[in-house]
Every structure is written in C-alpha cells, then in structure tokens.
C-alpha cells in the first residue's frame, strides 16, 4: 500500500506521477536535505535519525568507501583519501587554489587541465565529482524518505558565488542525476523559510550566517516578490571552530597544560569544548572535565568567561556587518528583518550582540542549522507545481474537468476541475486493435463517467503511426491550459513521433448556471454512473476477449481442437456476446470467466506449438554448439 501525503486543494497528482521536490543545502562542512510533506517543511533524517550530513567523502580503490558521518569519523585514519570542505574548491581553477588551499588536506594532481584534480586511491577527482557524490547520497536519502524518484531540486549556493562556481554546482547536481529547478542563494533561502518573501511591502533583510568554519553577512532587498542581493561580506575562516579553540586555549592556559603535537589530546579537548559551548547556550555555567592518560582537568566555565572568550570573534563579525551595510549604502535602522543562520548563532552572546547592532529583534525561531534547507524545500515545492502559488500569480481555476473519450464511451479525466491554471497534464494511452494506425481523440468536459453525459469540446485524429499489436503503441496525450484559459490538446505517438493537436477555449459559451448544473448532475447520478462505468468496462473487456478469440480461431482452431472442444468454446463465446447486451455487469463477468475456463486448453496448446515452432529443426546439441567457442 502506497503512503500518501496531503496535497493542496486541486493539486493532487495521478498515481506514480507525484511531483516530489527537495531542497538541498550543500554546505562546506555539513549538508542537509529538506522537503514538504503534507504542507509541512521538514529536514529529512537518515535511518539513525541524524539530519546533518557531513560533507565528507572517503575514497578507496573501488570508488566511494565511506561518505557523510562515517567518512568524517575515519578522516584521521586516511587523511589523503578523505575529502572535506570541497565546496571551497568548486568552480575554481588550479591557479585560484594554490594560495587558498594552504592548510587543506588535499594532494592536487599535476595536470595540464585548468580544473584542479584531487589525487585519491579511486583516481583523480574534481571538486564537481566529489560534490556529486555528496549530492547523490542526499538524493538517495530523499527518495527513500519520499518513496519515489525526485522530480526536481533546489540547491543553495553562497550569495557571493560567481557564474563558474554556480555552473559547477549545477554540473555536480546533474552528475548526481538530479534535475535542478534553480540554484538559490543561501541567504535568500533563509529569508524564504521565514516567509519574508510573502511580505506585502518591499523590505530589506540582513542574513547573519555564522557556521562552523565560515561567516557570511548578506543584505537583501525584496522588491515585488523578487530578492536582490545588495551586498555580501564575511570571513571564510571564522566560525564555531574558533569558539572551540578559544575555550581550549583558555583551559590550557588555566591549567598550564602542554598540548604540543599530541593530536589525540587536542581532539579530546576540542570535543569537550564543544560540549561546554552547547551547554552554555542554555546554562549560566558548565563543567569542562576530561581524563586523558595521566592528565585530568576539571574546570568550571562561567557564562561570563565564555562571553569574554567570544567577544573578539563577535566584534569581527560586526565589522563585516558594517562593511556590508556600507556597500549596500544603507543605515542600520533601514534593515527591516534580521535572519540568523548557522549553528553558532545559538550562542546567546551572538544573538544579543547582533540584535543590539541592528537595533531590533532577530529571527531565530527556525533551527539555524536547517533554515537554509527548509527555504530551499519551500521554493522547490512551488517550482514543482505543488502549491497554488496564488500570492505570486493571478490564478484562475478550471470550472469543469477536462478529459478524453476512451473505448466504450467512457471518460478519462485528464485535468480535474478546480485545478489552477496555467496547468499541464499528460497521460499515456494505447491502441485497442491489432494493426491500428490511427486514433480518434474526443476532448470532453464534465464530471460524468459516460461521454454522452458530458460536453463535447472538439475532436481530432492522430494518423499514420506504425501498426503494432493492440496495447503496444504508446500515445502521449497532453492537456495544456494557458493563463488565458486556452486549452491545447496534443497527442504524439512515441515510436513514430507522429503528432497532432487542437486548440479549444473550454469555458466558451458556458454560463455559471450551466456549470453548476453539470456538477450537480454528477453528484445526484453518482450511483448510476458507477454502475454504468462498471458495465461499460465489462462490455469492453468482453468485446476485446471475443475479438482476440475470433482472430485465433480463424487461424488454427482446427489444428488444435477437436469438434467437441471447439463447440464448447463457441458456446461460451456466444454466451459472452449474449450477456454483453444485458445491463448487468456481473453476468458479463461470469460469462467471461466461463469462456476463459473452456479456452484454457486451446491457449496452452497454441503456446506450446509456438515454442515448438521456434525451435524446430534444432537439437539441444546445436544450441550448445552455437554457444561454445570453436
């Protein structure tokens, strides 16, 4: 049983055609993927419940050996094959990198190509390929969580990314098999998550993003629903890691500990510093206690001490804020909203300082680690067509369902009523008879099950496709209603590429009262319509069975059946034909079942004969001989 999500009114999709969309925050240190389920935005966890996916890939001889948390945890074992912070390289040329890569754990392959390649056991990897591996893992997580293939994604990039870096990010997504609806700037995504894009008036927004290893401040202007980045500033080597280091330095100085080159001790100290930092987001003091070999440290860190340790870091970020404002030619009091992004903005002193600087409350309701991914997911949901984005576009709805006549005078709805326009829906149909080379398409409007109870809008024909066995041709019929309510129905046969189309104005000549009565009729006649549909479906089934039987019997009935058997089938066939003139679906069904039963022997003999035919004149030996090399 499929697991379904609640759609917005009129936005339901046909089975297996769900528009599954996700937002991906492809970060330097960590990445996240978010989606909208039943209208609720949420970040998707892995099977351990972890939402944060470390942007780390470890390569082995056979390709990706570990990814995400596993790769990060193994980093010290295999530093040169474990690639982290690859975002710092994406879209850069070999020359760009030489200086900025100082301190990075990469071995760059020497090549003539301008695209830098990282040497790993799995071969030389470009930043695009490494990013693609990360994106592929996030894609898998999203698809498992949504129960289907992603239709499209929005990927976020820093506001300062240039065209090459953006193109490289897009290429990475493509390589990961993702359809990118759009790249969205990280600060813009954060503003969207807070719904600031739906503000009535134009506004200016500051997005303060203090992550693990980078700091960015962006000033955005929202005008008529469109975001423009006015300025960006920041520091690519400033973040939460610096806070951890500051705590360690303080503790080490207090206790006169000699860390030297002891990597294990360094790691233990940093881990404990992180615990203390997190505790001080909610408490006035925290315990710094470690046990490392002979060494034992137990120290109380007060909030006051902590605040003095981070004061300089905060001042540095505010300097960047001043810079950004200057570039944007704005004063502090001209900023309408301040959005906080990144785990380090949980530090109360950071919030207080930013709030004081901009002289207003800062937005912190949404988890600062997740806010960018959530904004991206909201945007992806709109772009996938799951929202009746009424705030952005003036929308109208289709007053009555639009559909097509199928065999037996039944209506197949393609666009249900109340669907917002513009709208486009496609469905695949097939042929009913062997050798059929043309198809008549009858476009109808209405809520009833039978064509005769609906309104005919137009007819057209698709001619000249290749004759094949019934049910093999694939004819895609697309209904497209543009913003003006103009309906274009087009049909294309996939193999031959033959196509045809017709244009109609569906609401032409229909008064509101007529629309109303058509809908009312469909409700009052619900029971009859269901019965009529079932009857008609059985009749079509009966007709199809009789036709197939007749074709076979004309060919080889005498060869496979004796008179008695033949008579039984003919009688059963007659009963089916008789019953299908009746108005009772069940009697057709039971007559069909009898026919199936008595024909079984005929069907199996024909099947065996056709297999025999295919192998005639060949012995098992000859098959073996053909297969073995001479």
């Amino acid at each position: 049983m499929a697991l379904l999500q609640i759609s917005e009114p009129g936005q339901s999709t046909a089975p297996h055609q769900h528009r599954l969309a996700a937002g991906i925050d492809l970060g330097t240190t960590n990445s996240l993927v978010a989606t909208i389920k039943s209208g609720l935005a949420s970040v998707l966890p892995d099977d351990q419940g972890e939402v944060i996916f470390p942007s780390v890939v470890r390569y082995g001889k056979d390709g990706v050996a570990a990814i995400g948390k596993a790769a990060r945890d193994q980093a010290s074992e295999d530093p040169y094959n474990t690639i982290s912070s690859v975002k710092r390289l994406i879209g850069l040329s070999a020359e760009d990198i030489t200086e900025s890569s100082a301190g990075m754990m990469f071995k760059l392959e020497k090549t003539d190509s301008s695209v830098p390649r990282i040497a790993t056991d799995a071969g030389a990897k470009t930043a695009i390929e490494v990013s693609a591996d990360i994106l592929r893992a996030l894609r898998t997580r999203a698809e498992l969580s949504l129960g289907g293939e992603l239709t499209g994604v929005v990927v976020t990039v820093p506001a300062y990314f240039d065209d090459t870096q953006r193109q490289a990010t897009k290429d990475a997504a493509k390589l990961a098999g993702l359809n990118v609806y759009r790249l969205v700037n990280e600060p813009t995504a954060a503003a969207i998550a807070y719904g600031l894009d739906r503000a009535d008036a134009d506004s200016t927004i500051a997005v303060y993003d203090l992550g693990g290893g980078t700091f960015d401040i962006s000033i955005l202007k929202l005008e008529k629903g469109v975001f423009e980045v006015l300025s960006t500033a920041g520091d690519t080597a400033l973040g939460g890691d610096d806070i951890d280091n500051a705590i360690v330095d303080w503790v080490v100085a207090q206790h006169g500990v000699e860390v030297g080159g002891n990597a294990g001790l360094q790691r233990t100290l940093l881990d404990q510093a992180r615990v203390v930092k997190h505790a001080l987001s909610t408490n006035d003091q925290a315990q710094f206690s470690i046990q490392h070999g002979e060494l034992s440290i137990n120290s109380t860190v007060s909030l006051e001490t902590f605040n003095s340790l981070v004061a300089e870091l905060i001042q540095n970020t505010l300097k960047s804020c001043r810079n950004a404002l200057r570039q944007a030619k704005l004063k502090k009091n001209q900023i309408d909203n301040v959005v906080m992004v990144g785990g380090s903005t949980r530090v109360p002193a950071v919030r207080a300082a930013v709030s004081e600087f901009f002289e207003r409350e800062v937005l912190t309701d949404i988890n600062p680690d997740e806010v960018v991914a959530i904004g991206a997911a909201l945007q992806a949901d709109v772009l996938a067509g799951n929202k009746p984005d009424s705030d952005m576009l003036l929308l109208d709805v289709i007053p009555l369902s639009l559909g097509i006549e199928t065999h037996g005078g039944l209506v197949e709805q393609i666009i249900p009523r109340n669907t917002t326009i513009p709208a486009a829906r496609a469905q695949e149909f097939t042929t009913y008879k062997d050798g059929q080379t043309a198809m008549a398409l009858h476009v109808v409007q209405g809520e009833r099950d039978l064509v005769r109870d609906c309104r005919s809008l137009g007819r057209f024909e698709l001619r000249g496709f290749n004759p094949v066995v019934a049910g093999q041709a694939r004819i895609q019929v697309t209904f497209q209603v543009d913003a003006d309510g103009l309906l274009t129905v087009s049909a294309v046969e996939r193999d031959s590429g033959v196509q045809a189309e017709v244009q109609i104005k569906p609401s032409y000549g229909l008064r509101d009262s007529e629309i109303e009565s058509m809908i009312r009729d469909s409700m009052t006649n619900a029971q009859q319509d269901v019965a009529a549909r079932m009857l008609q479906e059985q009749r079509v089934e009966a007709e199809r069975a009789v036709e197939a039987l007749d074709a076979a019997m004309a060919k080889d009935a005498d060869e496979f059946l004796d008179e008695n058997e033949k008579q039984k089938i003919v009688d059963a066939r007659e009963a089916v034909v008789q019953s299908s003139t009746a108005t009772d679906a069940d009697s057709i069904k039971s007559a069909l079942r009898v026919l199936e039963k008595v024909s079984e022997v005929y069907v199996s003999r024909r099947m065996n004969a056709s297999i025999g035919e295919a192998m005639k004149g060949k012995t098992i030996d000859s098959y073996e001989k053909q297969d073995s090399p001479t």
């Binding site: 697991l3 297996h16 498992l144 969580s145 269901v530």
Partner: protein
C-alpha cells in the same frame, strides 16, 4: 455510511492543518485513472462544495463528495511508516484489486 481515522492519522492531520494555519479539514476523493482504475485523492479542504458529505472522527472533519463516497464508504484512514518513508494509507473495504504499490485500485 462512514469514514474513520485511526488515532495516528488524526494526530498527523491535526499537525498538518495547524501548520498550514487554515482549512476546514481533510478532503478525500477518488478519481479515475489508467484504463479502469481509480486513484485516491487526499487534500486539505478550504471550502465545502454543494452536496459534500462531512464526517467527523477523532475531532477531524473529513469532507467527501457523494460520488467518491460510493467508492470510499467504510474506509479507515491510517498513517504509517515504511523505512524512512511515511504517509497516509487507505484501508478501503471496497477494493477488490490494486496495482503493485496500491496507488490505484478497482472496485
């Protein structure tokens, strides 16, 4: 005639409706699809249409048009989890046959 919700389903519907901030309740329906199949529709409802039947179970309003009710009567809506995926399930006594994944069915 009735449509019911399990506690799990009612709980999730309430969360989603609260998050959305508007809506009368949940609209369930079926629409035709494929050659002879039906598919479930599950949407938020912002308004009642003429003839709609409204059920209330577990303090959730379930809104359904009379035509769909023919196919859905007696259905229990459930919410379940399969691996990382989670969502709503229709336990529909009218179903005789369904496609492999259960998204479309026949009566």
């Amino acid at each position: 005639m009735a449509i019911t919700l399990t506690d799990a389903a009612a709980d999730r519907v309430k969360t989603f409706l609260d998050n959305r901030g508007k809506g009368l309740g949940l609209r369930l329906a079926v629409r035709t699809t494929g050659c002879s199949g039906m598919a479930y529709v599950i949407e938020f409802a912002d308004e009642l249409d003429e003839g709609d039947v409204v059920f209330e179970d577990n303090s959730i309003k379930v809104i359904i048009d009379p035509k769909s009710l023919v196919y859905l009567d007696g259905t229990e809506l459930d919410f379940g989890k399969e691996g990382l995926n989670e969502g709503f399930k229709f336990n529909n006594p009218n179903v005789k046959d369904e496609c492999g994944c259960g998204e479309s069915f026949t009566v």
